[in-house]
């Protein structure tokens, strides 16, 4: 980049710059150095994650050596141990909690976001304020009554309790995010459909949905990430029956000194679905995390 600095100066200042301005040039020595530096920093930054994956392919013996072992004969034993043990029921619970809550969020959130995207609703601002303020409500402030209520109706250690809670947890994000997508739909599209006599559900379903599909998908992915990774409710409201993947990893707290390789394998497997989803949804990630504020 240092090499590119003099470049603009050689151009006459008065002439408007040509459109595809070569702000940063490739191939220069400075550029190559910066590229190498960027790669090096990135690799150092993610090294704990790379180390996790590497450790997952070790035997327990070489997972804990001083100095750490870098080259070894990889083995799949740890993955086999994890899957062969009781990992799968946790995955099943996580899948139910994640998919069901995400579906519920979309069913509740899409009409709400639509209503909030058309201006005439008088209290739009208040409602949006309310939704986002629930995100600021500390979970610890509500967990006790939820625990007591769940115990009363026999819903402790029940996966559907988590589904309801995760839906409430993600609904504000989804409403804000979906609203930002609705705002981008040209008003004429909806008006035209209504002129032809289409009812609201019909407008939503057959006119808006096809246009909104990428936005709905992005919203779903964000909800999935948060639900899959959620720990607080999961650890406090479940026991043996409804425990999810993050709760499974708690089991390693007691035995952490002994089973690093197996822990790494379990952590890798547990993270894999969300990491892959996140990689696929990179472009939408910013928008989702900022609740639609940044595109």
């Amino acid at each position: 980049m240092t090499a590119t600095a003099p470049a603009p100066r050689t151009r006459p200042a008065a002439v408007p710059t040509p459109r595809p301005a070569p702000r940063r040039r490739r191939g220069s020595v400075g550029g190559t150095a910066l590229t190498v530096l960027t790669w090096a920093i990135a690799l150092v930054f993610v090294s704990p994650a790379l180390w996790m994956v590497l450790t997952a392919f070790k035997t327990e013996g070489i997972a804990q050596t001083d100095p750490p072992t870098l080259l070894f004969q990889p083995t799949l034993d740890q993955f086999r141990n994890v899957v062969g043990a009781d990992f799968m029921p946790y995955v099943g619970n996580s899948l139910i909690a994640t998919l069901a809550s995400t579906a519920l969020v979309l069913v509740l959130g899409t009409p709400a976001a639509y209503a909030l995207s058309i201006r005439p609703v008088k209290r739009t601002k208040d409602v949006l304020f309310f939704f986002i303020s629930t995100k600021m409500l500390p979970l610890v402030a509500v967990v006790v009554p939820i625990y007591v209520a769940a115990a009363e109706v026999g819903m402790l250690d029940n996966i559907w309790t988590l589904v309801v809670l995760y839906t409430a947890m993600n609904l504000p994000i989804a409403v804000w995010m979906l609203r930002s997508f609705f705002l981008e739909v040209p008003a004429g599209v909806v008006e035209a459909a209504q002129m032809e006599g289409a009812s609201l559900p019909r407008v939503l379903w057959s006119v808006m949905l096809p246009i909104m599909a990428p936005g709905v998908a992005a919203t779903a992915l964000i909800c999935m990430i948060f639900s899959w990774n959620e720990f607080f409710f999961a650890v406090n409201l479940t026991a043996s029956q409804a425990a999810t993947v993050p709760v499974y990893l708690v089991g390693f707290i007691t035995s952490e000194g002994l089973y690093w390789a197996q822990l790494a394998a379990a952590a890798t497997l547990a993270s894999l679905p969300i990491v892959v989803i996140g990689w696929m949804a990179q472009r939408q990630l910013v928008r989702g995390l900022s609740m639609g504020a940044v595109k």
Partner: protein, 316 residues
């Protein structure tokens, strides 16, 4: 709605009544889609909080059979003079503030590196967002073991030449350890936000600055940073909302210890509730946390609305 659209043309006879009725019907057709989500959210988030307030006024410890009586503000008096609670509150502020600020600094650095075309840019970005996607519970455990372990940890090995080889990070510096894992997890989030900001920067402005002979540092402080301000504010705000509720990292890494050295409010209240069984006191703590959050959030929400809404919307 389709009916009301054609109404004026057909029925000009009753101009006084129709518009109001029409407006009301129109209003409801706009409001109805909102109600399920609104009612659901109120039931699941607001109703429990009302019970929390109720519990906080009672003396209720599951281990004491004689408890369950009305206690007035006793719980609040106790909690506000509880040194551990105040320590946890301080830790919450320290952990949240340092995590958000350091993540933001790291995020800006990474975003600046990514804001140019180079070989493998997509791969580097993909790598860099990965820490954010790994289950936080796993992140905390892995940092605690494979990174921070004084004997076999990678960090000890790397830091040995600097004389920091046998530091027991988690027990000697629990807060630093927790913040490190959190920064690693949250920097990608900040990076993505800042990168979106950098990429929305107008080329012409940048080039005008270069033509005027501004050096790189001047460009950064006078042109780029002011442009990024909105994104940085948003990142700090959203980061704070998420990080202030951190529970998993502390649960897995330090259990709030040694003692209560690294407890934050979510973890301390959890301990009082599920290990101390003191429902009344933990409810009072919850209410205090919510009041504190409301004070901070009211200020923050002004910012959010300035950021989220277009000017036109904000005025209506």
């Amino acid at each position: 709605m389709s009916a009301t659209a054609t109404a004026p043309a057909e029925r000009p006879a009753a101009p006084a009544r129709t518009p109001r009725a029409r407006r009301r019907a129109h209003g409801w057709s706009l409001r109805a889609p909102l109600l399920p989500a609104l009612i659901f959210t109120i039931l699941v988030t607001q109703l429990p909080f009302l019970f929390t307030i109720f519990y906080s006024l009672r003396s209720w410890n599951l281990l004491r059979p004689d408890s369950g009586t009305f206690a007035g503000l006793d719980n609040y008096a106790y909690v506000l003079t509880d040194a551990q609670f105040l320590g946890a509150a301080l830790n919450t502020v320290v952990i949240t503030a340092s995590c958000v600020l350091i993540s933001m600094a790291v995020g800006i650095g990474l975003a600046m590196l990514l804001d140019r075309k180079f070989l493998g840019r997509g791969v580097v970005r993909t790598l860099l967002i990965t820490p954010f996607l790994i289950i936080p519970v796993a992140t905390a455990l892995l940092w605690k073991t494979t990174m921070f372990d004084p004997v076999f940890g990678l960090l000890g090995f790397v830091l040995t030449p600097f004389g920091l080889g046998d530091v027991n990070w988690v027990s000697q510096y629990p807060v630093v350890s927790v913040v490190t894992a959190l920064v690693w997890q949250w920097s990608p989030f900040m990076m993505l936000l800042v990168l979106a900001g950098l990429q929305s920067q107008s080329r012409d402005v940048v080039e005008a600055g270069q033509v005027d002979g501004a050096n790189r540092w001047q460009m950064f402080t006078n042109v780029t940073l002011p442009h990024l301000r909105r994104y940085i504010e948003l990142g700090v705000l959203l980061g704070s909302i998420y990080v202030v509720n951190t529970f998993d990292t502390i649960y897995m890494m330090t259990q709030g210890g040694p003692g209560t050295a690294s407890s934050n409010l979510p973890f301390y209240i959890y301990q009082r509730t599920f290990l101390g069984f003191d429902i009344g006191q933990s409810a009072a703590m919850g209410v205090i946390v919510v009041i504190g959050t409301i004070v901070v959030a009211t200020l923050a929400l002004r910012l959010i609305f300035r950021t989220f809404m277009s000017d036109q919307e904000a005025k209506s």
